[in-house]
Symmetry: C2
Subunit: 309 residues, 2 copies
């Protein structure tokens, strides 16, 4: 095999109550990466589409590129690679765009070289992409993009990632409004301190959400999808946030919050039909304040990256 | 039935990473309460043993008494009740002593009157005992004492209590050193604010602990039994804390932390044999600094209160 085409899924990090520790993957949208083995012993990006010229073409500064470089260093390979990156999801959207490219890249090169590493071991390389994209090596997008499903990052130091189960009727709605929030800005407006009483509410909800995922208790999932710490601050960056969230809940969503650092907003619902209704209600709420948006409805992605060719 | 004798179990609240939201019950120690129906339309305490004269004899100021009074008010009964309270566990020990008495009282009167309420509905009355004992109506001792097992208090407002599963080989070791810490003091030394980065570590661990309970992953339970927020402050009140904790971990405990507001220290282990070894190691560590202690080894109590007669 001389070339490979990989899809990696978009992801929702934080999931309301799980700031920096929870994330899940969806089937749509996602990124596509094509890798070709090359005789030139260098990792190069030969083409990027769908980014409106905004992503760096230098491999070392690109999330897919750096992940592949770090992976090849680790296995001690001087293999040359050409990367074609088809961005099929919006940048700066809070949907794990950089993570999807990283995961597609590192998963693809590992497959192309005949799986020298167990795919479960690829996470640290994909996290290097996050380090250059947002300044720190977060795992709450790359881990669900790589493993699929709901993922808990119990600890960063040492890295301890645990896959959680997904109730079978759980569907995600994601609305991406046509505004942009930089992950760095969304991090900088967060307060560094919080009240203990708010932290208690938050970890009660994290524990409730995990319990709901294990017991398929949709109502408990809904009651637990609350964020008293991050959402009140970051939602200021998203015009119409409360209106859109209310529309989601009135349409039957179990819960609704900011996807990652925003501006995308996600909702979880029981069943695809409700998730579709929720999507329409949320888009209408954005329409009313003249903000265009894209909607995605998906079951929770269980596969992680997919080989397309 | 004119009288009833009830056992209610000691409980470990907080469970390292779950401050105010997690607790579990043990088989030993616990309190015993005897209730007798009386023609005098009043709730009265006729005897308390094992408290060295320290508990209030006035029903309204006693945790068992006030729980029964609130319960009778709720069901609209003027029934007279005489209470005999056998304290079989140390006061101010961090083992949910007040909660055990409350739960035994309210569970007992409900049984004696022919179960006018589903026992699952008794929690708010037992919480009234906590309100007078420590100034706020906490549920992380009363809920596991009433329901048995591991319990999550997802939310206090509204009250939302969820029972968690217990891996079958999980055993608790509890060491009660002969020093006393007042719950109110242990609350007052806590900082009202904390760092977001510490809160993230804590809720990662709460989610990890819940996951470990569901999957019987003892190692994950052990990795998650960490408290970076409360333990560093409260352990100052317990002489020799770090020495005793280290002894527990070296003897094979999965994890070890403060039980409730202390001074008791709990450890969780896989299997009764290790839990016993852990008990001996922890007591020896207290011995070395001339602090006497009592040790309890128990599986996780699943039954909650028990009718003894």
């Amino acid at each position: 095999m001389e070339s490979i085409k990989i899809f990696a899924p978009a992801t929702v990090a934080n999931v309301a109550c799980g700031f920096d520790v929870l994330g899940f993957a969806v089937n749509n949208p996602g990124d596509e990466v094509i890798l070709k083995l090359s005789n030139v012993p260098k990792v190069r990006i030969t083409q990027i589409t769908g980014d409106e010229g905004r992503l760096p073409q230098i491999a070392e500064k690109n999330t897919a590129g750096i992940s592949i470089i770090k992976y090849l260093e680790h296995i001690g390979s001087a293999q040359g690679v050409e990367i074609i990156l088809h961005k099929k999801m919006p940048l700066g959207s809070g949907l794990g765009s950089s993570a999807a490219s990283s995961v597609a890249g590192v998963y693809g090169i590992n497959e192309l070289l005949g799986r020298p590493l167990d795919p479960q071991k690829l996470l640290p390389f994909a996290m290097e992409g996050e380090r250059i994209a947002c300044g720190s090596a977060h795992a709450d997008n790359v881990a669900p993009a790589l493993f699929g499903g709901f993922v808990l990052i119990r600890s960063y130091n040492p890295l301890d990632v645990v896959k959680l189960p997904t109730p079978k009727d759980l569907f995600a709605t994601i609305i991406h409004p046509q505004i942009e929030v930089q992950t760095k800005d969304a991090r900088e407006i967060l307060k560094k301190e919080l009240l203990l009483k708010d932290a208690v509410i938050q970890w009660g909800n994290v524990a409730g959400l995990v319990t709901g995922l294990f017991t398929s208790d949709y109502k408990l999932i809904g009651r637990s999808l609350q964020d008293v710490i991050i959402e009140p601050v970051r939602s200021i960056l998203i015009p119409g946030y409360q209106r859109v969230k209310n529309a989601a809940l009135e349409a039957g969503a179990l819960g609704c919050s900011i996807s990652g650092s925003g501006p995308s907003i996600f909702a979880l619902s029981k069943g695809e039909e409700i998730a579709g209704k929720v999507a329409r209600a949320m888009q209408e709420a954005f329409d009313e304040i003249q903000i265009e948006s894209e909607a995605y409805v998906s079951e929770i992605n269980q596969a992680g990256p997919l080989i397309l060719n």
